[in-house]
């Protein structure tokens, strides 16, 4: 346990990672997560670890692959476009059954997008942005306190199941300051046991360890074995937070920063005579589908609040099915949710109105579109240019 202190999200995360026994970090500068590699560069070596500023996101995640192969608690952090670049390494880490911590302090996308906090990478995180059949664990903190304490949870889960774990934060959580404390004693990684699978030196006849990604003829067996772990994780490792979920009319579902705006909505709702609850998934994969399905039988409607254009809502609909109406209150591309707007959408769900609810088909209802080639601009055929 540590004393309460005012900490910036990204710095709490970095300090929490060092306290969790992370001893290898590789990263590349990108806003809004720069405090993480900066903090690591200042403090990791003093704690007996190694910091490398990599030449690219691709190199950084592959350095983590090498470090994780030795059994060292290893980590990289980035923000959305950088995490896209890391996907190659993430699918290789999954295939080689390597535990590590990957942090995404999300910003607006697609592409270079913006540097505002956003939640547009839900699909990428939970569906696997790289090739092949695999999952990674995904933890979604909603406070500086959780940012500081999730690295330990994340690396322990990653090691337990031999797979990467992502902490999916966003630019606002990373940049904001809150009072927080670490709820665990610092881990001394030198006192942790070794892994039989890790590559090592001076093994004194313990036999050869091979960390590898090409499975060839063994691939089917490899992938189906891993799927058993995935099933076990779905059954035992879902985490979530509930507020007034069992007796509410409208059940809000939100993770990360969006859930903070939902807390505002919950307090406003009392004043306005609305009965609203909040279900906050903490693990996005595994998604707490079963609990959400149970709760949806008691509410009149579910409202998903997300800072993206209909990503989280898909998992909610899969869980809830046709039990009750599921609405979406969306703030894509760096938009910030607001308690009153959330309540407007919640009220719409109960009264059959549309205010505050996003539906893609209605959004595009009277939309016409034309983007054709124009012969009056000339023809494409001349590839030489000039004279």
């Amino acid at each position: 346990m540590s004393e309460k202190a005012l900490r910036k999200g990204n710095e709490a995360l970095a300090e929490g990672a060092i306290r969790a026994g992370i001893r290898f970090f590789a990263g590349y500068p990108i806003t809004p997560q720069n405090e993480v590699p900066e903090y690591m560069s200042a403090h990791l070596a003093d704690n007996g670890g190694a910091f490398v500023q990599a030449e690219s996101e691709v190199a950084a995640i592959n350095m983590v692959y090498g470090a994780a192969a030795t059994g060292t608690r290893s980590m990289t952090s980035s923000s959305s476009p950088g995490v896209s670049l890391k996907q190659e390494g993430i699918t290789y880490l999954a295939s080689a059954d390597l535990p590590c911590l990957i942090v995404n302090v999300m910003r607006g996308g697609p592409g270079l997008g913006s540097i505002s906090g956003a939640q547009g990478d839900y699909f990428q995180a939970t569906r696997g942005g790289g090739n092949g059949d695999y999952h990674i664990l995904v933890l979604a903190p909603n406070s500086v306190e959780e940012l500081g304490n999730f690295p330990k949870l994340g690396i322990e889960l990653a090691e337990k199941y031999r797979m990467p774990c992502m902490i999916l934060a966003d630019g606002i959580l990373g940049q904001m300051m809150e009072s927080m404390s670490f709820n665990f004693e610092p881990v001394d990684p030198n006192k942790l046991g070794k892994f039989s699978w890790a590559v090592d030196i001076n093994k004194q006849g313990r036999g050869k360890s091979k960390v590898f990604s090409y499975k060839g003829d063994n691939l089917i067996a490899d992938v189906t074995e891993r799927a058993k772990r995935y099933g076990l994780i779905e059954k035992t490792e879902t985490r979530y937070e509930e507020r007034n979920c069992e007796n509410c009319d409208v059940l809000l579902v939100a993770y990360g920063l969006s859930s903070r705006a939902c807390l505002e909505a919950l307090s406003l709702a009392k004043e306005q005579g609305l009965n609203v609850g909040l279900f906050r998934p903490i693990t996005l994969w595994p998604f707490p589908s079963q609990r959400l399905a149970e709760l949806s039988k008691r509410a009149k409607a579910v409202l998903v609040v997300e800072q993206s254009l209909g990503q989280l809502v898909q998992d909610v609909k899969l869980a809830v099915g046709n039990n009750i109406p599921v609405g979406l209150n969306a703030y894509p591309a760096g938009g910030q949710p607001d308690g009153q707007q959330i309540l407007t959408a919640a009220r719409s769900l109960l009264t059959g109105k549309k205010d505050g609810l996003f539906d893609l088909q209605e959004h595009a209802a009277n939309f016409t579109y034309n983007c054709e080639r124009d012969l009056s601009l000339g023809v494409q055929g001349d590839r030489k240019g000039g004279k």
Binding site: E55, E88, G89, I201, N202, F212
Partner: protein
Amino acid sequence: MTIIAQKPKCLTDVPMHYCPGCGHGIVHRLLGETFDELGIAERVIGVAPVGCAVFADDYFACDTVQGAHGRGPAIATGVKRSKPGAIVFSYQGDGDLASIGMAEIVHAAVRSENITVIFINNAIYGMTGGQMAPTTLVGQVATTAPKGRDPKLQGWPINMCEMLAQITGSKFLARVAVDNPQNVIKAKQAIKKAFENQVNNVGFSMVEVLSQCPTNWHASVPQALEFVRTKMMPQYPLGIFKDEGAN
């Protein structure tokens, strides 16, 4: 009875998958001999590439990591920084090292990572069936350069040792060949030096090996050896391009 030659202890008994006449097997043996002779067998961790040597991890008796195409130097960096007592080598082909992994090899040299890189240059993509490599010679026919490499379309071959020699962090750079016994002996000396450097914390060392690929060159083994001598060596002269470990 006196044993005058035997398989290095650092190689496994697994039959190699390499094509007849290929240079990989020779280089593997030289690595195994080097580990045995330097007494570093218990400390070696190898990094295998994507390409013809993707199964190299089966052939070395040491612990191994096999990762993504071109990322060997980054993976080796992670291993070495986490296990500073390890002797880490990255084994890579020319597509792996000089094309898709160009950034990783250059920056491993820039940081002077204390690792050893073995770079097999056979001027072609072997595993995928003979496509043009960054090291393919001008005029050399490849499946993606059916009329031969034309510098106007595909540029010129890249000389990695000469390029990396410009980088302060490169401490040992040698180009060798395995086309005849004399050159094999010289290759062994260079490889041994590149590992001695790592033992002595000298910094980034790389040995480029000109290797024959009879299969994808559509040549007999003697023809392939002749191609190394008469076509590759003029473009890729043998020698030591940097040796700052001696001081």
